[in-house]
């Protein structure tokens, strides 16, 4: 049984291979027959050996053996003599046939080991070493077959020759015998004739006749036997007449004897030629004999040689065959062992297959079951006998998620398919199998069957379904539970899942939490708390009822009741924890406690005394202020009856009783004589007694009295004021107005005044400062009541009745209570009519003044314009004639001084004087223009770096006086605020001067810096030039003032005037300090001195 499945499987594929045997043998037979005219009887086995080889290769051992048998029969019938019969003419044929059969069997056993088919070999795939040596083996066997063929052929030939040789030896013997028979017959005939002759006895005559007859027969035989030998035939031709002659002689002798008797006969014998004939006959016979004996000799030798050769061939052939058979035997043995081994492996595999709980099923192309292991029996409940031959899906009612056609398609296309199938067992139970199917292909690669391995996974599926169900339940519970739930990994604390409630509680979204730890999220207040928690769960495996204050995402404390346990989910140890927000409960508890505390705190901190008592007027609560007010300790009072404790307070108690009876709270003030104080008491009856607030209002009572006194003072003050003062309530009713109010509003007396604002529009017209009518809402009182406060707001008022008009300056403000609500207004009005008139007068005067200033300014501006036009004309028009004078003087010099000397040196000198004066005039005009421009130009004040300006001027001067040694020491960073162009003009003039007046110095040193002059800072420009006498310093800055002669130091005398003008325009001052020949220093300030 154990083997049945694999062997059946192999059988199934093997039977088809026997067709190869028939086909191959038929083909070989056909081909050999076709080649027969060419090959004849020559070794007919070759093609059949090839056929057997092919079949062995393709079909395996069985078909190869079959092919060998069929081939033997075919050869025997068709190709061995006698043909077309199964008879064998020679032993040689039998031997060759036997050899062929042996070779065929050897091929079958060696080439096709263990009956495996090519398909099976293909199944074994690569890596099997069988294939390579197989070709070698085929070569060896083919060689051996060929060798055997050659051997057989040689052997056959040898046998044939031996037989021929022996035949010829026999033949020679026959000839010799025949010749001997002729001789003996002749001799017998002669002997018998003699006897007759001698005796005349018929006995001899008869012998004679028989001898003569036998001689004839013998001679005919001899003739026939030597038919192939013409020499012998020749001899016999010669012999024949001689024999006839002799026999005739003998016959004549006999006749003679018969008729003439013995004597005549004897005579004939004596005289006759009988003896001579006989001799000749004997000689011929001897020649024949001799020839034959020679032939016999050579033929015997040839036969012997052929025989020897054949024996050799036979010996060798037999030896080779023996060796071949031995080799075949070894090979067969080897293959038997191999087969045994593979069968053992197969058996083991089969055992394994049987051991497998998986159903291993093979089916043919039509899905008919061909193999069915014990696993399959177990899985499906069908026995092998029941299953084999049935159609798979019919037997098992296969159902699958995909259509059967598609599954087949995949199987055909890819060679394998795997998936889940639903099958029905023998007992009708549904099972789910995990199926793996492999397509089996035959030698030609065509689908030949299916190997299917199915595993029953019904229970697993069931378990999976159950698990899924329980997982779903768990997940649902997890998601829906009102507690926060979290699953985190035990080993690293990473959150794996959190539910909605958890997210709501902590403020973290699922995405934020998953993959992080509580440490990452900083849920625990301190890492120590978390470590403690982690330790506990590691040790105990679970925890419950932990109260922890955790932190939410927004870092709010979250009072949490934590429970959790370690579970294993998907092979991973996890902590499933439930988080209960107990913040609300905590808060409620806390709230109640706080309220209580707060209440107590409030009661204790009240400045008012507070006591509570039960229905029997016994104190149940006394606050600190009450202790103080009553002058008794709490301990003395609590539990005591207040009526007994404070007998003097009877008037109070009467009111309490009244309040209790009425069940209303009430407040009253009364004087409590024992403590010498006014007390304000507020009593609140309640279901379980009453409570009282009381305060010492003695001070307030006193204050009220004081207030009354001060109010009188205030009123006195107000009434003495010249400004109208009135106070209104929120509705515009005047609650207070002073005496001046009446005067201000042109009432005859205070009593005549209307006491509400609303009445006034009928009395007064009010105008705003711009003369427009002020509506009631714009009146001071209403503005104040809207919250506005202002001072000195002017209104013009006019009495409707008299038309009298006056101007009031109003100050007003709202009056607010403690809550800042406006409860009234204060307005102060002052009659400023007279002042207004005075103001108007002043304004008019100012306007006139301004007008006059404007006019004067315009005049000045026009004068300035004229001056500018004048200056412009001067600059342009005065210079033109000067240029003319200069030009024509030059022309005169050029044109006439060179040619004729009537003007001579002096004339030239005069002309040069004219020119130099002209040019001086030009410079004078330029300087004057500059001076005037300094005065005229608008100033643009800006920050000016004087040092920088001075440096650039110095650089220009150095360039202009390359022959001079000029040393400028300019302190950097000298800053001023002024008009840069004017300041540059001033500095240029000063520096020009300095350079000019140091001309006599080998080394001119010019310094520009700041210095203190009489305690004040000033800019100073010093030189080491010729200086001047301070006695003339007064005229220094005047225009056209010079302290040096023109010839000594040429100049217009306008430079310093210009500088002074610039300094003055900046609001500064300039002065000089010098000594003749000791240099000069010019000090200046820019801007007014402080």
């Amino acid at each position: 049984v154990a083997f049945s499945t694999p062997i059946g499987f192999i059988k199934r594929f093997a039977t088809a291979q026997y067709a190869y045997s028939v086909l191959a043998v038929a083909a070989a037979t056909g081909l050999r027959l076709a080649l027969d005219p060419v090959l004849g009887d020559f070794f007919p086995y070759l093609l059949f050996v090839a056929a057997v080889l092919g079949v062995a290769r393709l079909g395996g051992r069985g078909p190869a053996l079959a092919a060998t048998g069929l081939s033997s029969l075919s050869v025997m019938y068709f190709f061995l003599q006698p043909r077309f019969s199964f008879a064998l003419s020679t032993p040689l044929a039998a031997v060759s046939l036997g050899l062929f059969a042996a070779i065929g069997i050897a091929i079958s056993l060696i080439v096709a080991p263990a009956g495996e088919t090519r398909a099976a070999q293909v199944e074994r795939k690569d890596g099997d070493p069988a294939d390579a040596p197989l070709l070698g083996r085929i070569a060896v066997i083919a060689g051996a077959a060929l060798a055997l063929g050659v051997l057989a052929s040689l052997l056959s030939n040898g046998f044939k020759r031996t037989v021929d040789a022996e035949h010829w030896v026999d033949h020679t013997y026959q000839v010799l015998n025949a010749a001997a028979a002729v001789r003996s017959s002749l001799e017998a005939a002669e002997t018998s004739q003699r006897g007759y002759l001698l005796t005349g006895s018929d006995q001899y005559l008869q012998a004679y006749d028989s001898a003569a007859a036998s001689e004839g027969r013998a001679r005919a035989s001899l003739r026939l036997l030597t038919a192939d030998n013409h020499v012998q035939q020749g001899r016999l031709d010669e012999f024949h007449p001689l024999v006839r002659a002799r026999l005739n002689l003998l016959a004549s002798g006999v006749e003679l004897r018969k008729r003439q008797g013995a004597a005549a006969a004897a005579d004939l014998v004596r005289h006759g030629s009988g003896k001579e004939l006989m001799d000749r006959l004997r000689a011929i016979l001897d020649a024949v004999d001799g020839e034959e004996r020679r032939l016999l000799n050579s033929r015997t030798m040839a036969a012997s040689a052929a025989d020897t050769r054949t024996r050799w061939i036979l010996g060798l052939g037999t030896g080779s065959l023996v060796i071949l058979l031995m080799l075949a035997g070894i090979s067969i043995e080897h293959h038997i062992q191999q087969r045994a081994r593979s069968e053992k492996i197969l058996a083991r595999q089969a055992r394994l297959i049987d051991l497998s709980h998986d159903a291993i099923i093979t089916a043919d192309g039509d899905r008919a079951i061909t193999g069915w292991n014990s696993g399959a029996e177990e899985v499906y409940g069908f026995t092998e006998e029941e299953a084999i031959g049935r159609i798979m899906h019919e037997l098992l009612h296969t159902r699958s998620a995909i259509p059967a056609g598609e599954m087949d398609g995949i199987l055909q296309r890819e060679g394998r398919w795997a998936g889940e199938l639903a099958h029905t067992r023998h007992d009708g139970r549904q099972i789910v199998v995990e199926s793996r199917q492999v397509l089996q292909r035959d030698g030609a690669g065509c689908p030949a069957g299916i190997l299917e391995i199915n595993r029953d996974i019904t229970e697993r599926k069931q378990a999976e379904d159950n698990l899924r169900l329980s997982e779903e339940k768990f997940a649902k519970a997890f998601a829906l539970t009102p507690a926060g739930m979290a699953i985190s990994r035990l080993r690293d604390g990473l959150f794996l899942e959190v539910n909605e409630t958890w997210q709501a509680m902590t403020g973290y979204t699922r995405e934020e939490a998953i993959g992080r730890t509580s440490a990452d999220l900083q849920i625990w207040q301190t890492p120590e708390d978390r470590a403690r928690g982690a330790r506990e769960i590691q040790e105990k495996g679970s925890f419950s009822g932990w109260e922890e204050t955790l932190l939410t995402r927004s870092r709010q404390p979250l009072a949490t009741l934590l429970s959790g346990a370690i579970m294993t989910l998907a092979g991973e140890e996890v902590v499933v924890s439930a988080w209960l927000d107990i913040g609300a409960r905590k808060r409620a508890e806390e709230g109640a406690r706080r309220i209580n505390e707060k209440l107590t705190g409030i009661l204790e901190s009240l400045a008012d005394g507070f006591v509570a008592c039960d229905r029997d007027w016994r104190y149940t609560y006394v606050n600190a202020s009450a202790e103080k007010l009553l002058g008794r300790k709490r301990e003395e009072l609590l539990g005591g009856d207040m009526r007994a404790l404070f007998p003097e307070a009877a008037p109070f108690f009467a009111r309490y009783e009244h309040a209790i009876a009425q069940k209303v709270s009430m407040t009253f003030e009364d004087y409590y004589a024992p403590l010498k104080m006014w007390v304000e008491v507020s009593v609140h009856p309640s279901a379980d007694g009453m409570s009282q607030f009381f305060r010492n209002v003695t001070q307030r009572k006193q204050a009220e009295e004081a207030l009354l006194a001060s109010r009188a003072k205030l009123e006195a003050a107000l009434s003495s004021m010249s400004d109208a003062v009135f106070i209104s309530d929120a509705e515009g009713r005047f609650v207070h107005l002073n005496d001046a109010f009446a005067t201000f509003h042109r009432f005859r007396s205070k009593e005549e005044c209307a006491m509400t604002l609303a009445e006034y529009p009928t009395i007064l017209d009010v105008f705003l400062a711009d003369g427009t009518v002020a509506g009631l809402d714009m009146w001071a009182v209403n503005r104040a009541l809207r919250g506005e406060a202002a001072t000195n707001v002017e209104y013009t008022l006019r009495r409707k009745d008299t038309g009298e008009s006056w101007v009031g300056s109003y100050s007003f403000a709202p009056i607010r209570d403690r809550e800042s609500r406006i409860v009234g207004s204060v307005v102060v009005g002052r009659d400023i009519t007279d002042r207004k008139r005075a103001d108007e007068k002043i304004r008019q005067l100012n306007a006139e003044l301004e007008q006059r200033v404007r006019e004067r300014t315009a005049e000045l501006e026009s004068a300035n314009k004229e001056l500018e036009a004048f200056a412009y004309s001067v600059s342009h028009d005065l210079r033109a004639p000067l240029r003319g004078i200069d030009g024509w003087s030059l022309a005169l010099m050029e044109d006439y001084c060179g040619a004729c000397d009537n003007l001579g040196g002096r004339g030239r000198g005069y002309l040069e004087r004219v020119r130099s004066e002209t040019q001086r005039m030009g410079r004078l005009i330029d300087d004057l223009l500059q001076l005037s421009r300094i005065t005229r130009t608008h100033m643009h004040r800006d920050a000016v770096d004087l040092s920088l300006a001075a440096e650039s001027i110095a650089a220009r001067l150095r360039d202009a006086h390359p022959e001079r040694r000029l040393e400028f020491a300019i302190r950097p960073g000298l800053a001023a605020f002024g008009d840069v162009r004017l300041l540059e003009v001033a500095l240029t003039n000063l520096l020009d001067n300095a350079v000019k007046f140091t001309a006599s110095r080998a080394q001119a040193r010019i310094e520009f810096e700041t210095a203190e002059w009489k305690g004040k800072p000033a800019f100073v420009l010093r030189d080491n030039g010729v200086g001047f006498d301070m006695a003339y310093a007064g005229t220094l800055f005047g225009a056209f003032q010079r302290l040096h002669s023109e010839s000594e130091f040429p100049g217009t005398g306008i430079g310093l005037a210009t500088v002074q003008r610039v300094v003055h325009r900046h609001g500064g001052r300039i002065w000089a300090n010098a000594e003749p020949d000791r240099g000069a220093a010019f000090y200046f300030t820019l801007g007014p001195e402080k």
């Binding site: 342009h876 028009d877 210079r879 033109a880 240029r883 003087s889 022309a891 030009g922 330029d926």
Partner: protein, 151 residues
């Protein structure tokens, strides 16, 4: 050298005119000197109007030497009109004046003067200036391309 080109001198002061002529002669500048005695005359010349009607106005002077203080039409107005007209806007104009006023300089440049030269009283320097001016504008300076009629 722009030999065929004229130099337009716009100057009312005859002494200055003569001195300018003299300076040019001495500087061996042989170009014809056209003198306009006032602004109107200068504009007539440039635009081929009045007594200059029919003159080929596309034949611009090599340079115009313009005094600012002129009768009838002041120098700056002449400059403004020259620059405003397509035919003459490329004319090189050198302001040649006695005025040193900043306003004049600013206005001259604003209106597109090519140069501003103050006539010095010293004729030697004046002559030098005129000669350099002639040399510059007639020799060194590449004349502006002619304005095509109708463009």
């Amino acid at each position: 050298m722009n030999n065929h080109k004229v130099i337009l001198l716009i100057e009312d002061n005859s002494s200055d005119v003569d001195l300018t002529k003299r300076a040019l002669e001495r500087g061996r500048i042989a170009n014809e000197l056209v003198v306009a005695r006032d602004g109107k005359e200068a504009l007539d010349y440039l635009f081929g109007e009045g007594s200059f009607a029919g003159r080929d106005v596309s034949d611009l002077p090599a340079v115009a030497l313009l005094d600012l203080k002129l009768p009838r039409v002041p120098g700056l107005e002449v400059l403004r009109r020259v620059r405003a007209d397509v035919r003459t806007r490329r004319l090189p104009v050198v302001i040649l004046t006695s005025s040193k006023e900043e306003e004049d300089r600013a206005a001259g440049y604003d209106l597109g003067a090519n140069s501003y030269i103050r006539k010095p009283v010293d004729f030697t320097r004046f002559a030098e200036g005129i000669q350099q001016l002639g040399l510059y504008w007639l020799v060194w300076n590449e004349a502006p391309p002619k304005v095509k009629q109708g463009s």
